[in-house]
Amino acid sequence: MQELAFSFADQILIYAIFAMSLNLLLGYTGQVSVAHAAFGAVGGYTVAYLFLHGHTSLVGDVAAGVGVAVLIGLVIAVPALRLTTEWLILLTLAVQTIIIMLTTTVNALGGSYGLQNITGLTVGKTVLSDPSQFIWPIGISAVVTYFICWRMGESPFGRVLRGIREDEIATRSLGKNVFLYKLTVFGVTSGMAGLAGAMLVLNAQIASPQDFGFEKSSAMVAMVIIGGAGNLFGSVLGVILLGALEPLLNRVLHLSPDQSAIWSLIAYGIVLIVILMVRPVGILPDSVTRRLRKLQRVQDRERRAATGSGSQAASVPVAPVVKSGAVATNGASKNGHANGNGSIDVKPAVEPGDLGDVELPRALGIVEHAAADSPIVLETSGITKRFGGITAAENLAITLRKGTITALVGPNGAGKTTVFNLITGAIKPDSGSVKLLGREVVGLTPDEVTRLGMVRSYQTVRIFPRLSALENVMLGIQHQPGERLTAIFFRPITTQRFEKEARARAIEWLSFVGMEKYKDVPAGALAFGQQKLVALARVLATEAEVLLLDEPASGIDVAWVDAMLGLIEQVRERGRTVCIVEHNLHVVERLADYTYFMELGRITAQGNFAELTADPRLAEAYFGTV
């Protein structure tokens, strides 16, 4: 009986290693892999093979197993880096199938019988033989895995991972090397799967393909989702729940041994679906989901109170309504047509006109309002880009001067946003040069450009919906030691100290845009205008010299436009260089020191706003015949 309990505990702990590491990959970073068990096979078979041919020591063999798994994980990661979810599932499925097929076809790996007789392992002088002894190496591995996953997931490093999960392009635009982060996580989690596989083989005393098949991989995905993606304890709970199901059912139903396996598997599938329906966010949801729930409860209570007070409720100002469905992670909303029911009302953050005496964060040093001959910060020349036969940009020459606001205007399809894409490295120009503070940036990646001091915002906001407003802004802060793997493990004190500072600075930026009240609200639950303000704070938090703002005032309430423009003017007053793409000519008139007019990928006129609007041809190009 006791032995049974130990062997059950061994199984649970091994699967906990699998599930926690998969959660880091899937729940935190948003990369779905159905090859996790196959990486276990890599680790397990390496250990088994070494044990049978040239055994050195337990630790040495296991380390080799982990190493090989890391290596294969990194190789797979390279093509996996640019794939969307469904293609990633497909790629990992191919990897899973091929690895298992190799174990069954390669003679040296024992075929479908696997590698047997992995017995008589010794640690020091003790021979590991029964489950109560195996619990030590397995338990230690599980604890180490938990610690690493927790540190990587719940730290500034993990914040970047969650940013990648929510929106890779936005994360990159904030100066994070997304490629490196993903590669690291793939490597680390593959290694952990290899460790779990090694433990599985040692414990079972056999390396068998059945233990690492597609069904095992997908069961691991199920454990993570059922337990709660983004919550490590959830994964452990998922493992216990799904692992305990079979023994439990046998006990309750008193089935004959040959039938019990079948019945428990039938129940397993049904339980899976029931839990998904009843607890779609997992048994232990991640922190954002918990916060959202709380918010929803508070709001429901307020709404009930409001309707209770009858006619008075009508005088309560109407607040922007947000569908909670808007908090969906990328790829979430394709498969349904429901309207988000539970909605969250958040009152407007900024009262128009109450920004007059906002204290500016100290990062913005006060500079004299710059004149037209102030130094050049960004200069492009001859930028050309063709997509097939379409010329998106032709021979563009744009100059941004320090402490000024430059506007790009022009009809839809003129290529204004493409200009942003071209100068930030999101799209590589066919020819031409972009000099930022004297440095050529063509050929650099968007994150490198950001680190050199030029950051952009997006017309569609690209907020991280399942991160709080504060976390959104904190991701904008540059040079965080805690975003480096070495620092979170070897310099925890520096990490923590800087984290406090980053938090304080992010709050400053949030209060600059008037959103500090909503710092703990998941950004997806905010109104669009509020998201734009948070996005502005996020861009400002990078402290980049040049800010490229894509339609900062579009899609928000008229009442808020004024507040938004006031903020941009303040940014200019502090000596930052701003370039905006804008359709609203009132906005351009108020903000722009210099204006470029674009048509079909070309700059057809430039000058100050009054000069441009005086030209009847441009008026026609923009408005059509008046």
Partner: protein, 312 residues
């Protein structure tokens, strides 16, 4: 390798390829239109084979009606799954802001496991796994090639079905509605096409196609509870390699080509390696898939990035 051997491998390739084609076309229709990662396709596949086997052995029906019955059972199963599991889950996912693709994938996994074991339970009770009523005879074509009537029946039936689906998709109102939902389900709502109903239709057609393939396979061998997993993988490979928005005929030809490659690689490799070849092709294809410039630009320029399954 003799000429006879080569020709025989080609025949095997055509036969396998035809099965992959039918499976791939059915699966591509389901996943391409509905976006559901429907790995429980394996269960509807197995179910069709068992229903056909019960029909011929227990109820003494002839082969062809049993085939139809098997396909109908598969279709019904697919429709029920969409109606009572996937659709409700997609709504739940949307309401909670969780990833619908993943939730449906996990649910589909649950169905696969439960379904396979349920079939096993029933199958062991009935102890019938073979499909009777088909007069499978060798047919000699020329001096070297030997076909079987089963291969011919499977070939003709499969390609007729794929042809009919191609015409339906290209020419009929239903086909236009299906393509509309595939392109943009939100927009299709605006012009009065209900994606919910179209999803049910594609699940019915796609599952029935898989069912037909299953009955032919089981007629040649026998029905087994775990027979569905590997064909589902092949269906997945064909559907994705062909591209999810691709016309059925093209998908079918990709399936056929895959079967040929698998069968002809047996000329150079030990037979147990041939299926590795198929997945290696998939791996290389996915890994080497050029970054689709068009996609990326669309993503960057789009005013509202539409999450979900990329088309092709």
């Amino acid at each position: 390798m003799t000429l006879a051997g080569l020709l025989q491998q080609i025949v095997i390739g055509l036969d396998k390829g035809t099965t992959y084609a039918l499976l791939g076309v059915g699966f591509a229709l389901i996943i391409g239109v509905s976006g559901r990662f429907h790995i429980a396709y394996a269960v509807s596949f197995t179910l069709a084979a068992f229903v056909a086997s019960w029909a011929t052995t227990l109820w003494n029906l002839p082969f062809w009606p049993s085939l139809v019955l098997g396909a109908l059972a598969a279709a019904l199963f697919g429709v029920l799954i969409e109606k009572f599991v996937y659709y409700p889950l997609s709504r739940i996912a949307l309401r909670n802001g969780t990833n619908a693709l993943l939730m449906i994938f996990v649910a589909s996994l649950g169905i696969s496991i439960s379904g396979r074991n349920l079939i096993q339970l029933v199958a062991t009770a009935r102890a019938a796994a073979s499909i009777g009523g088909f007069d499978n005879e060798p047919v000699n074509v020329g001096p070297y090639i030997t076909l079987t009537t089963l291969q011919i029946a499977s070939f003709v039936t499969s390609w007729v079905l794929i042809g009919i689906l191609s015409v339906v998709l290209a020419r009929t109102t239903l086909g236009r509605m299906i393509r509309a939902v595939r392109a943009n389900w939100e927009m299709s709502l605006c012009v009065g096409v209900s994606p919910q109903i179209i999803y049910l239709v594609v699940f019915a057609i796609g599952s029935a196609f898989g069912g037909v393939a299953a009955v032919f396979i089981a007629t040649g061998t026998s029905a087994k509870p775990d027979m569905g997993l590997v064909p589902m993988f092949y269906a997945l490979v064909v559907a994705f390699v062909a591209g999810l928005g691709t016309p059925p005929l093209t998908v079918g030809l990709i399936g056929l080509a895959l079967g040929m490659v698998e069968s002809l690689s047996a000329l150079f490799l030990p037979t147990q390696w041939t299926s590795v070849v198929v997945f290696a092709i998939l791996l290389v294809y996915v890994a080497m898939r050029p970054v689709q410039l068009g996609d990326r630009i669309k993503k960057m320029l789009a005013s509202a990035p539409k999450p979900g399954l990329a088309k092709g």
